[in-house]
Amino acid sequence: MKKVVSIKEAVDMIEDGMSIMIGGFLGCKNPFKLVDALVEKGVKDITLIANDSSFPDVGIGKLIVNKQVKKLIASHVGTNKETGRQMNSGEMEVELVPQGTLAERIRAAGAGLGGVLTPTGLGTIVAEGKDIIEVDGKEYLLEKPLKADVALIVGARVDKKGNVRYTKATRNFNPLMATAADLVIVEADEIVEVGDLDPDDVMTPGIFVDYIVGGSE
């Protein structure tokens, strides 16, 4: 049986210096309660892996503003001016990764693959320092898997086994991140009993989820 825990119990498992993947796309939507608790606890020197750094006052954007992030791995940071400022001043290291490559690197880690071969980024600074591999006369970049200590994801309906159903455009990176971290905590809009979710509707099987926290709404 999966354990439903409090926000405090969940965040107590997260320590300074950890790498943390957080689902969401421009704040649509991050696990807001878990992120706010990370801000409150002041966990620092985080390596944050996310699609973007949101807006300064929304979700994971606050972690940047609060200077809790040592390194950010993301595809887009243009909506949070503080990210740009800390990047230019050298306070925070930023690794920009093409969005599709970021998805595949996380998926590769979860799938036990040694990396992926993608044409994206060839001939650009993204290719610097990376192996180029030719397959049947076509060149590809070797992009390596990306995993983390913790993944914080957000689901619409989650049963007590940890089976997750996402809603609308909030799915984004969540199902991938759920497979690629040692500790996976899902923030559920609604926690339901085992059997309440139709197996056909489950998008992340509960075996990937370690802990559940309740109630975004």
Partner: protein, 218 residues
């Protein structure tokens, strides 16, 4: 009609009935307003859905439904949501017929720069590198110059988004195809002369004898 809408209207003529299309943020988003009503065009949003509809009406915004620019939008009947890996499978795998996006610079080899100005603006590439690598047709929709500076060049100076990726450039001055021989001016806005367009361009344009006129920009 202002330049942005004039460009968007012309880009819409490049789309074919049945196409799957990804529109970038800003000017490219306006293209959706000029798609012929009888066409069935499926818009892809790289944060994870097909069948994107118009912007959400005020008061009816859904916090769980935004486009790749974070704006509240809608989904049409028959639309479908998926995760980011599937979204970029669609994009990178050649399942998007056309992508329309802006540029800082484009050059005569079809190289594109649109994601950073070193030391000044580094927003990140988002999905742009995958889109221009994977889409069957890459259309750049932009103003011809930026505050008088050339954007269409012999060779890009800014960090590239992709090499040899751009197929077509549409600006308020004309329509240009990127060919093996260079940039071919195929259509011109009748309020400009070929000399005007050439003066606003940093690469030598190839001007065909059958140069067409765009619709007047009234």
């Amino acid at each position: 009609m202002d330049d942005k809408n004039y460009i968007a209207k012309r880009v819409a003529q490049e789309l074919n009935d049945g196409d799957v299309v990804n529109l970038g943020i800003g000017l490219p988003t306006l293209v959706a307003n000029y798609i012929p009503q009888e066409y069935e065009i499926t818009l892809q949003s790289e944060n994870g859905f097909l069948g994107m509809g118009p912007a959400a009406e005020e008061g009816k915004e859904d916090p769980c439904l935004v486009n790749a620019g974070g704006m509240h939008v809608t989904i049409n009947p028959g639309g479908v949501f998926f995760d980011s890996a599937d979204s970029f499978l669609i994009i990178r795998g050649g399942h998007v017929d056309a992508t329309v996006l802006g540029a800082l610079e484009v050059d005569e080899k079809g190289n594109l720069a649109n994601w950073m100005i070193p030391g000044k603006m580094v927003p990140g590439m988002g999905g742009a590198m995958d889109l221009v690598t994977g889409a069957k047709k890459v259309i750049v929709a932009m103003n011809h110059t930026a505050r008088g500076n050339h954007k269409i060049l012999k060779e890009c100076t800014l960090p590239l988004t992709a090499v040899n990726a751009v197929d077509l450039i549409v600006t308020e001055m004309g329509v240009m195809e990127v060919t093996d021989k260079g940039i071919l001016l195929t259509e011109i806005n009748p309020k400009y002369s070929v000399e005007d367009v050439q003066n606003a361009t940093g690469a030598t344009l190839i001007v065909p004898e059958d140069l067409k006129e765009m619709e007047p920009q009234d």
